[in-house]
Amino acid sequence: MSPTTAGILFLGSLVLALALVYRPLGDYMYRAYSGTGHLRGERWIYRLVGVKPDAEQRWGVYARSVLAFSVVSLLFLYGLQRLQDRLLLSLGMDPVKPDQAWNTAVSFVTNTNWQSYSGESTMGHLVQMTGLAVQNFVSAAVGMAVAIALVRGFARTRTDQLGNFWVDLTRGTVRILLPIAFVAALILVSGGVVQNFWNPADHTVATIAGGQQAITGGPVASQEVIKELGTNGGGFYNANSAHPFENATAWTNWLEIFLILLIPFALTRTFGRMVGQVRQGYAIAAVMGVLALASISLTMLFQGIHHGTVPTAVGAATEGTETRFGVLNSAVFAASTTLTSTGAVNSFHDSYTSLGGMMTLFNMMLGEVAPGGVGAGLYGMLVLAVITVFVAGLMVGRTPEYLGKKIGSREIKFASLYFLITPILVLVGTGVAMATDSGRAGMLNSGPHGLSEVLYAFTSASNNNGSAFAGLTVNTVFYDTALGLCMAFGRFLPIIFVLALAGSLARQGQTPASEGTLPTHRPQFVGMVAGVTVVLVALTFLPALALGPLAEGIH
């Protein structure tokens, strides 16, 4: 079988598997978030936390709960890193320095998992397990909770109640993330992903050529699986999912991509069930699917034809890729990780062909909506759907409606503010970095590729992705601070606007569909939302792309 045929089958089998689990998982998540009963374990959690699970919250209270939980998480994670040398399982690592500890804490709390540190030489097992991996669970559950709250805004009428954040957080973690993670972690172990508590110093072997090699173990499988499932992306090791102990075989690679795409796609079914029209969920899934398939195929194409000086000299785009995965499966991973807000990598985007690397950048610039991060992808895409019905309404001169809700000036203001945040952070951040010595000093590559490294960093941080053109030296006070701010604003400002939008929608009654209502479940609407998404991105970022990857790739 030719590598191309194998690559197409690899992608096809992922699509098929995702289609098979779409309904059962989407329906399961619908029941998890909509059910009125509580599991016994959940009741214990509510008692310990001290909340009444059946009391619902207005949007402001819901938002303040999200922020309170995130601020507390941030402080806890910061403290844990600063004190790691005095705690168990530190492996003799020093405390993480303040700017890096801030950056890492923000990064994991915002579901970004940008890493200015190298796992194997900075973080002991305790910080990885009880700090970073815990945030992998709960930051994912926060994203899902916010998405569910927005969907309730569409589904409910004449109420100010959006659900209870603590209940949504608990159910997302306990009913959805933990069971899948536990099973998938064991499957990964069976493929060779390690799960132990070794200190590398005790496991140094003499190689057969007479050298020394430390075998760096750790509780990797348990962390690896939630890093993909929760679209977090922070590697246990510096090499992330390229490391054989994180991603041992070609089939664990398949499974990890599957886990990345699983919840973001299935949540559209949950959305359809909650608003009582599954076809609306299919339409949103179709927009995501069209954009994702186009992007993955283009990335595979660009990597496969390996345009560029070094790839031509080599004869393939193998720099930064692992032999067991090959170029095409690496490209599928790269596109999937940037289309979702995951940011895990199984190959290094900095060494990709100019146009292949540009695709990973473009994917993030789409705003992480195709299918996006867990929860964040759904609420991002729903905001784009709102913008689309507004644009369509302007064109035909009717009041825009979506799912029976009028999109008035208040709603469109929140949607616009949501959309504007990341471009502002990305473009201003990149501009500031290129204008300052401390920003420019970090570039490994020169010329347009250096600009791409900086642009990629701010795009990744502001969209809460976390992958990198990793040549950029980011463990500096400048980048730790600036990117930390981008991650925080890029996560929480959109969340506030989404919840405000949800509150505003929930207060409305249901407008019955009339002849003038734009049907939002037909291919026409799918095409319009995809078009609006791509056009908005192109208008915003094309100048920056032209100076970086396009300048490098087209000459």
């Binding site: 690899f10 959690i45 310990l48 936390v49 709960s65 939980f69 507390v72 190298s118 030489s121 397990m129 700090g131 991996a133 815990v134 709960v138 603590w166 608990t170 933990l178 993670a181 536990f182 172990v189 069976s190 060779g192 992903v193 390690v194 799960q195 072997v205 057969i208 050529a209 090699q213 430390a214 075998i215 499988a221 348990s222 090499a239 390229a242 490391h243 054989p244 041992a248 070609a250 089939w251 398949w254 000086t309 070094v310 031509t312 000299a313 080599v314 004869g315 193998t318 720099e319 930064g320 890729t321 032999t323 067991r324 499966n329 290094f348 900095d350 060494s351 100019s354 040549g471 490098e552």
Partner: protein, 304 residues
Amino acid sequence: MRMPSWIRQHLAAVRALLVFTVVCGIAYPLAVWAVAQVPGLNDRANGSIVKTADGRTAGSALIGQAFTDNNGDPLRQYFQSRPSAAGDGYDPTSTSASNLGPEDILDTLPVPGAKDEEDNPDEGRQSLLTQVCERSKAVGELEGVSGARPYCTPDGVGAVLKVFGARAADGSVPKPTRVVSANQGCPAQPFLGTYLGVRVECAKPGEDLAAGLTVPIRGNAPATPKVPADAVTASGSGLDPHISPEYARLQAPRVAKARGVPVAQVLAAIKHNETGRALGFMGEPAVNVLRLNLALDKTHPYRG
């Protein structure tokens, strides 16, 4: 007295975080670890350790190793792994890719006698292209085949010209006044005699060539060189345990000669340690280098 609501909210947040830390941060990884200790899973959970013929731990089957001597030169009796950017090569405490871009083609030549900030001799910086060319030449020489590649000079650096002169509207330099082979430090013989009628010079270390137009020269090497792609590029992790079957077969005659065994037996050992695509379509065929070398040590020990 009732607490203000923002304090109650933050107290709930603290308690929630502690609960989830216990559940997701302690109970969950311990549960995965406990189940992973069952026979059949435990050797994998513990790093897929492999042993030598005499029972000594030789490393992990999943983690690549360097099979070189103290000087970094390849040991002829062993199959060689891919180039590695992890520390000094295959260092699991410093995993990394090179992160060099596809158009990283200009070297910084070392200036003789100059020192860097730490008072070490200036080593310059090799571009990714030159690294590829140098590796290709070295592998070609070791295995007795041509190491020629597109965009590479015969002496194993990137074939890149810096062309000076007035630019035309499309950015090219139709009538150059000066042409320098940027990666070939003097007194090297430039890979081209003349370019557009102008004699090509070698590059003087330390000279700023930024003003010239960068022109990589393709040359006439075949698009699919004798030395395979994986032999000249660093992996993502720097710990890649595999090489391509093509690279393994290229090394077979040299290994067979060093061990004094027929090539056919070494080729059979390669076949035995080759894994195809998972389920027929996932990943790429690959040969595990450590397992292959251990197998040969067992069946055909090296009597250096």
